[in-house]
Structure formats: C-alpha cells, structure tokens
Symmetry: C2
Subunit: 695 residues, 2 copies
Amino acid sequence: MITLIAPGIWKLTLGTPEALTPSGLADTTPEHVHLAALPLVDACPLQPAAITATSTPRGFQVRLPLQSTEQLYGLGLQLLSFNQTGLKKTLRVNSDPIADLGDSHAPVPFYVSTAGYGILVDTTRYATFYCGSANPVAAAGGHDPCGGLPPDAPVLDTDTLYAARKAAAYREVVVEVPGAAGVSLFIFAGPSLLEAVQRYNLFSGGGVVPPRWALGVWYRGRSDFTQEQTLAFAQQFRDERMPCDVFGLEPGWQTQTYSCSHVWSSRFPDPAALVADLRERHFRVNLWTHVFTHPTSPIFQDLLPHSGPYTTFGGLVPDFLQPEAREIFTNHYKKTTVDIGVSGFKLDECDGSDFIKSPWSFPEFGVFPSGADGEQMHSLFGTLQQRMMRQLYERNGKRTFGLVRNAHAFAAPLPFVLYSDLYDHGQFVRGVCTAGFSGLLWTPEIRHAGSGMELVRRLQSAIASPMFLVNAWYIKNPPWKQWETKANNADQLLPDWPEWQTKCRAVFDLRMQLVPYLHAAFHRYATEGIPPFRALVMDYPDCPDAHRLDDQIMIGDRLMAAPIIGTALTRTLWLPPGMWVDFWTGVRHEGNRHLDLPQVHENLPLFVKDGSVLPLARPSLHTEAAESFELDVRVYGNGALPITLLEEASPDAPFAADHVNLLTLSWDISRLVVAPVRYRADLSRGYTVAHERKI
Amino acid sequence: MITLIAPGIWKLTLGTPEALTPSGLADTTPEHVHLAALPLVDACPLQPAAITATSTPRGFQVRLPLQSTEQLYGLGLQLLSFNQTGLKKTLRVNSDPIADLGDSHAPVPFYVSTAGYGILVDTTRYATFYCGSANPVAAAGGHDPCGGLPPDAPVLDTDTLYAARKAAAYREVVVEVPGAAGVSLFIFAGPSLLEAVQRYNLFSGGGVVPPRWALGVWYRGRSDFTQEQTLAFAQQFRDERMPCDVFGLEPGWQTQTYSCSHVWSSRFPDPAALVADLRERHFRVNLWTHVFTHPTSPIFQDLLPHSGPYTTFGGLVPDFLQPEAREIFTNHYKKTTVDIGVSGFKLDECDGSDFIKSPWSFPEFGVFPSGADGEQMHSLFGTLQQRMMRQLYERNGKRTFGLVRNAHAFAAPLPFVLYSDLYDHGQFVRGVCTAGFSGLLWTPEIRHAGSGMELVRRLQSAIASPMFLVNAWYIKNPPWKQWETKANNADQLLPDWPEWQTKCRAVFDLRMQLVPYLHAAFHRYATEGIPPFRALVMDYPDCPDAHRLDDQIMIGDRLMAAPIIGTALTRTLWLPPGMWVDFWTGVRHEGNRHLDLPQVHENLPLFVKDGSVLPLARPSLHTEAAESFELDVRVYGNGALPITLLEEASPDAPFAADHVNLLTLSWDISRLVVAPVRYRADLSRGYTVAHERKI
C-alpha cells in the first residue's frame, strides 16, 4: 500500500511492520509549509511495482531497483566509507568501529541516490543493506561476461583479484530486516539528491538551529578538575585572550561514574556558584554524563522498576520509552543542574561497544518493561535521551545544545552533535561528509596531536564542522602548551608554547568570524532542510569527481573547505564548476577541475564561490561580545549572491523560526544594501556592518 | 528432551530445531570404541534443568549456567582473542577479520570450559554467544556493589574506565540463534577440558591423520610460473638441498580465475607430465582453486541448475548440498587433476568477505536449490567442499591433504588445514592455539618478512603448526633469497642470501626431524581426539598462568614451543608444572613458573618434558628419503615416558587406523627397547633406531 503523506514523500507499507518504529516514535511535526516550497513532484521516484518484498525465516527482505549510473550515500554516520555503492552494511549500533561493516555510533536506515531520491527503511532492527553488492545469476541470463580477469592473466596482488568482481556488479538494493514480518518505506523525492535530503530533514521536523554560543569554541577540561581549578582554568582563557563560549565538565563532577550517581562530587562544593561565576565570564557550562545508574544514586530505587533486565557498568539501564523513567531522570537533572543554569549535556556511552577489550552495554536480547528488546533499545537509546533532554529544556523555557554518542532516524531537529573516541583525522573529516546525508551533526573534536602542526590542522578541520570542540579531558593544560600527554600533566610546557597558542588562536578567530555565516546556514537547515556542512556530491551530484570526495566540505552554499589531513605539505583538491576565490589570497580559480596546492600555507584551504556576499564577524572572545555582531563584509566578483542573516531575541530561549529577525545583505552594483526580510521589535542585539570590501 | 547419545555425550533438544544442521549433515561415524576408552561420566556436566530457552521475534535464545571461576575457550578459529570469558561473539563467516566480533574464516558454535565440559550449539546460523558478558539486574538483587569505580576517583584513561565493568561480570552464557524456533545442544563431558575436546573430536569421527608427506615442507610458487618454470624451480630445491615434499600451483594453472574455469592454462601444455616429473623428484602437487565457476568453464551449463541465485566474482556458486553439483564438480576434477596424480587442493575464498574494499561472495539471503539460504550455505561452504574432495580421493583409493579457507563444526576428520591472507605474526600463532579447541587445524604460513630474522622467526613458528608452508605466490625467488617483493621479482637477490638460506634450512631440518613425532601425535588425534597442536590451558586448565597464554604451543604431549613474535631479542615464557629441558642446550628448568630468556638464541625456543623418549628423524630432503626413517632417539631424565610411533603401508592410500603398525620406544633403566604394539606385514617402510642419546 503506497500513500502520499507529504509533498514529494510517499509511504509504502510491505507486510506487517513491527509495532515499535522510528516514525511511530518521532515527536516532531513535519515542516509541511517548508516542504511545500520544494519543487513539485507528481510521481513516486521509484515505481512501487518495482519494489518487492519477501518474508523469510531470516526476517523480511525488500528489493529496490538501482540503475547502473546511480551512486548511493548515507546509512548514517559512516567513518570508514563514504560512497556506499557496491558495499554491504549491517546497521548495528556500536562505538569505535574499526571495520567497515556498518557498525556505527549512529547508523540510520536511510540512503540517498544521485538519481534524486531517498529511502528510509522504518525499522529499529539492525538491518542489512546490500547496496548493489549482490549479483543475481538471472540478471546476466546465467552468463556474466564482465566477470573474471582476462583469460590467462594471473595477477600478483589481491586488490586486482578482488577488483575484478566490480565490473560484474549488478544493480539492485536489497534490505534485510531481521526478525520482522514487514516494514514501511518512506520514499523521498528530489528531484535532486540534495532535495531528497531536504525533504527527509523537513519531514523530520527541520534541522536544529544551535544557539549562537554553541557555534563558538567549546573546551572540556581535565576530568578531575575541582570547582576552583575549573574557574581558574576558564579565567585563563580570558586572560590569555583565547576565545571560548562553552566550558565542559567531564566525569569528575559526579561522586560515582561508570555507572553514574548523577550527584555532584565534593570537588564541587557549590555548583550553582560555579555556573554563575562562569556565566558572568560569558561561559556556558556543559556536563558529561551517561544514563547508566549506579546503586548509590538517589534515583536508583525509583528507576529500578522502569529499567531493563541487564546492567551496564554495574548500573541500571533506564527504559526511556516509559514516561516514568523520563520523569524520574529529568526531575533529578532539572533540580540539580538545569535550574542552576547548566546549558546542556554530553550524553556519553549511549552506543555500546563490542569492539574493545571489555565489550560493554546491555545485550540485544533483553526485554525492557516497555516491551522493546535490547536491539531496538540500542537503535533508539541516543534518540530517546536527546528528546528527553530537549524536552526538559523546552519545558523550562530554555534552549540547549550538547553532545551525544548515538543517534538514529529523524534526528535533524535534535540539539546534539555526535562525537567519537576514535581519533583518526581522515575518518573525522569523512564523518562530517557522511553525517550530512542522514540529518546528523558530527564534530571532529581535538584532543591532542603528534606535533604542533598536526594540532593546528586538526583545529582547522573542526572549523568545517557543527561544533568546534577541544576535548582535553585527560590533560591538565591546553594542548597548544604541550601536546604530549605525560609532559602536559607534569606541567612541562613547551618552551615555544606562546607561538603555538598564537597559531591556534588564529584558527579560533576564524571560527569566531564565521559565526554569523554559520548561524545563517543553520537557519536554512531549519527552514529548507539543507545541511550546513555537507559533502560536495550533495551540491554537484552530476560531477563524477564528487562521487567519492570525502575530504572536502561545503559550509553553507558558498564556502568550500579542503582540510589538510595530518601534516601534509601539499594538497590536491577538486573545485566544483564555476569560479572559486581563495579565501586568503583572493586569487580566482576556474572550477570543475583539480587544483594542486604545491605548498600549503598555514591556513585552512578555504574557497569562496565567486559572486558571494560574505559577512565575517570581528574576532571576539565569545559570541556575546560586541565585536561578534560587527561585520566585515566581503563582496566577491559581481556580488550576485546575497546572504540572509539570522538575528534572535535571545540565544537561550527556545528557537522559533517565526520569532527571529532576518537580515539580507546584497550588493547593488556599487554598494552594500542591508535590508530586513523580517523584523521583530524584541531583538536584543543585531548585526552592524563595520566594513565592506570588494574582492 | 535430553538423551545420552555416546559415552559422556548428551543431546538436549530445545524447541523445534531447523531442518538443516551441522550434525544432520555430518558424514562421519562417531568413534564409539575410542569414546568408550575415556573416563566414565555418569551425569551430564550441566544440569539440564539449569539450561533454559526462549523463542523471541529475534530468534531462539538459550541460557546456560557459568561458574565465576570458569574460563571459556573455542568458538572456532579466533585470531583476535583467545580466552572468550566475558566476551560477545557473533559467529559470522568472514575472511580477514580485523575486529574481534566473532567473524572468522572458521567460526564453530562450540565452546569448552575449564570446568571440564564442552557445548556445541547445533546450528548453521550466525549465532551470538554472550560468554558471561550480559549482567542481569536481578542477579544482584537490583544492586551491584562491584560496579563502578571507587567513589570520587575519576580516571584519565579509557582502559581503566571500561575495565571497571569487569568486576561486575555476572556468570551465565546466553546464545542467540537468529531466525530459529529451536536448537539442539550437544553436551560433551570431560571430566577435564581436554577430555571434553577429545569427546568432541571423537564424536566428529576422530582427528585426521595427514599422509607423512604432508608433514614435510610445503612451498607454493609464483602464480604465473609456467610448466617449465615450475619444474626448474622445484629442481632448484633439490639442487640447493632445501627440503620440500609438496609443491603448490597458484591461480595461473587455470585459463580463467576469479571466477574459475577449472581448466589447465596453456602455460601447462602437459600437466600429466609435470605431475609425473615432480613425483619422480619426490614432490606432491597441490592445486589452488575455488569453486566459483566462470561462464567459460566446461561445467558451467551443467552446474547452472544446481547453483545459487547469486554470482560471486561473476561466477556460479554451486549448491554442494545437491549430489548433482558434487558429481559434476568432482567428475571434472577427477579427470583433469586427480587421475593424473594431483595430491590435493587449496580451496580458496570459500569464506567470503565483507571487510575489504570490494566486499565479495554471495549474499546471506539468497536461497539455493537445496533450500539452504546464503547464511546457512556460508556456514557450510568450506565443510561441504572439504567433504566432497575427501570423498573424491577416497573413491579413487587415495588419500589427500590440502588447504581451505572455511570450516565449521565436526571438522576434525577433514584432511584440510585453514589459512588466511591476514599476516600478523602474533595472530598467526594465536590461531594455532584457538583452532585446537574446535577440531580445526591452522597454518601460520610464511610469505615474506621485513627482515631475514623475521623470516626465520616466522618459519620457526610454523614448526609448531599442522602445516609448514611457504606461500610465495607473488614472488619469483624464495623469500630467503630476497624478502622484499619488488626486488625479489626483479631478481635482485640479497648479496648474503646463502647465509639466510642456511639459517632457513636449519628450520626446515628441524621440521623434518620432527616428522615421526608429529605423525604419532596425529595418530593420537585420530584415536584419542587429542589435538596435536594446542594451547597450554588444555593440558593445564587449573593453572591460572595458562588461562590467557596464547603464544605458547604444546606439540604432542612432550614438546612445548614458545615462538618469538617478530624480531624480539628477549622472551618471557611460562613453563608448566614439572621439569622441562631446553631442547637445544639440555639445561633443565623447574616448571610452574615464568622463565626469562634474556638473550634469545637463533633457534625456536623449545622445551622437552623431562622423562620423554623423543625420536628425531635424520634431516632429509623429503619424507620418502631413507634418512627420514632413521631415528636419533633422545632419552630425557628417567625416560619414563615412552612413545608410540606410527608406520603406514603407503602414505597415499586412505588411512585406516586398524591397518597400521605401531611401534613403541621405551627406556628400560639402561637401554632403549623398540617393540611393536601392533605389526602388519604389508608395511612398506619402517623406522630404525640409528642412534640413542641420554640427556
């Protein structure tokens, strides 16, 4: 049965789906008005008759057509591969994936095609996606002339041997949903790949708009800092003129962790005073936590009847499908953290792991009081926590923004960014690219580095991501003073640390300059569903050069970053069609070709689409500073691409798309025109143009 | 329902098992006579009432008790972990596992415990084993005082964070069989861990006895060698006095591979002559192949109706559950290979892979003509091929021995050794240890090395394994002449290669000296089920020092090898209880303690159990040489441990335990006594004692 459920979105139900589904749980309203603004599509992009389903002892099997020219992307956060065409992925929730099997912090049963559509398989099961990797005998009439190597041509390396198979790839997608007797598909029309993603995000409720402060610099201090040390450390940022908006406390704020008591440790004798002290210095406070609840926690007994049958780290696993569990948990956190001004949380360990030495987290088979089993709960665990926390803040008339280790379908509206303990620089940049296909945000956080230059390069990569975060939970001093852990903790600072601090400050400053631009890009995430950070194939699906490009990032629609991985001294990058201008030198390059940077300068390789009006804030120590609202506006070329900035009444009140100012900066032949698109009187602070420059 | 089905072996059927099971397919007869020789056990080692089962939408769940002191081993070939206690493993068939999730060339749903029993879960499904890793809330009455870190004690490394969980580990094994509504368990009593393994192997039909030549040196030449080059290369071994018994041809012998034509290439104008020429030089020939059948193969059309619905490498996947497929395949191979004297095969790629860049092999969901789906076929694929090939030889009145990339349950009688493309030295040694728990054989084959010393160390490791194999499929010259691939293929030999050849020859010689001892150890594998190569915990389950020891190997019951991994210059090893004598120096060491080798000499660290009568053959170029039957007998200490050697009528006729000579060498106070235990007149060649030495 196929039904048109929103403009360009169809629901196809096959067999008898399970009761517990991602769509059934989604608590957000599809953005129908914004969906209606997308191009009209009359027909379902895949013929429903071409989609077949079978029930087997293994579960439920769905087969979808795939043209030989199509390229597939998505399936959530995938750190180990980008283009999914020809691959097989099983969407198990798992931290720290080291094999490219689909295991992920945030697997999402959603893929998009360069043919201009997206498919969501509405299941909480660990479904397997064969993305054109299964080749029926029948398809070649029993013969497959492409198969095999040339006759009599043995080869001496395994890559060539296995590559032979590729030529024989037949085109169909098969999805297996274990243990199910049916499933619904949501089919999102384009007509382009990006528009299919937009429909998915708008159907999810539209993308989140972070509060302005969340776009600044985040820093997490060492786990065992006391209240006094925390305050002194934060003050040091101000004294040394290093920008920072959010300061994060790690496990040490609790009396007991792994599992957690959820109670302030004696290290923090007056948490309310600390939060107030930091707030006065223009810092927000973010708290690490996880939900596994230790027997010494005051909420343990109350949670017990609303928890799963198995422990994790010796603690209860609350069943957040039950309202009671959510109430118990959020009531406690409200009183002890939210009410004193904590701005949000880092929801750790909600993914579980089978990969590391001690596999941990609850088993897939255990049945929770709500009826969900462990597999279903794993798929939903991060999502349920994110929604619970968002609701806690909304009920208190506040906005939050934080970090999380697990997400799933319909995640676009959730005010959380994914992160990982894995620390491969290339994978971290790829994660920004893959997350964007499935309504996810991802931060390639910085912890340490093998050298000063690597530290700078890692920081630069984080500019092209939703969250600019230094996570120094195990080092005493900032990494730019000493990147080697032991020496750092022994206060053996680098002799030339001030130089490295200066280099790092330059990267921080660039992020601060981009805040107005990023905020505007997120506004389009909310209203148009366009991911603020995304792979180039999303904007240029018809360019084969973009099909496997996983180390360059579109920031909004007029900046393109090509981070340097590691400490390379050269960089080859691909410029999309059109003219592109080097952000640093102003040199123009014809696009649709590869560009060699024979000697990479110290800055992040960053290119501006010619014609852009690009507003940059003046560097500031935090997003509340006056400079953060003073714009240097660059006008590139003919200035034909105006920009609409977002102004909010308060960065702490819940976001309401209709209660914001919108300000358009456009270039009218010879002058900059600043015009409100929409203006509301309750605006606390607005942008002013301090300077304009024609490039 | 529980039934005693053989001495000390119970079958417990829970729910309604699937029709296709490993036990249902096993074509060997349990060795009831030998089973009866094991200690009498009256009661099932696990209380049947303590084993519970549940049917869920996810499949079938079985829960078994586990005591807190028990250590669990097995689950087939596991390269990434040894002791499975506290771990979670999903037994997916997969080549090249890089994450410790249970994926394996040869996963086997069988585990053994130090408490002295073994459990086989009789399924072809990718079952998940929670080996004490799931911790019920109920078990601690809702409280788990062990969980968590000490209060107020944050830590700064993730290892410590995650280790906290371990203390909280509750003890039960949970097995989930996806898609099933029931399963049978086979419960093997001990009373010891080794005896449980023995029962499992004897129930499988008893361990294989390789023909004598299979215990010598194997060498596989470069893939594109011609007939002429092959013969010349083999002759070079004889000319340079390097021992070798089996020469292997790689893919280049076929006209088409990946997928395969199964037809001799024009590189080999007269295969029969080549095999005869090599046989005259005392070489056996082993052929690489895989079963995926290319459209140009003469058997393609015949196989088509008896193949699965999906191709692999563009070729057919024969359904070897169908007798027709087996007949077509073996008839072709009989005519073209077996009848001209080929001694066996290397059955490649029967595991499939999802890990590498191009995932390949048939999908889990496709249904074969026999009714098996892809998941079931993957679990059985290697086993079916091994049985088919063994039967082909047996029908021709011949014995075979070869290599294979996949195995499963009840594998002990099959004349094949597992191998891998992975090439981590430590993992390769661990593989010898883990394979032994589940009736598997494994070779840590040698391909190349980073240095001459690493090459020597890798060769030494292979001594302590069922197959001593140099797999030089991509290099033109032997690795001891040049270990760097490019230089090797450019004939740029090392200036000092003769020295390295001498060092390698010394390792080859040791292997040749051990042939009578190894042959005898394999005889005990057949008649007593004792794995010839095994982890020390199998002999010393009560020694905690042995519980995680995965880099030392018992060879038979009186040699213990401690291979050097890589090029280390020191080695710490554990000596089991009793007195142990250094094989090289004759120095005696008190056991049940750790021993430091502060400066490792060039030889494999090898220790002899004091009291042993140890026969060594004289080094020879092949196992048919007269020297190979001339024994130097060492008598250690009081000589209280006699040995029984095996003599066969022909190394090429099918093995029959009742048609061999058995010869016991014992020490009678002051003299060696050589006495036949059993003597048959048709013996072609027997051992003679050339020399005896008291140590």
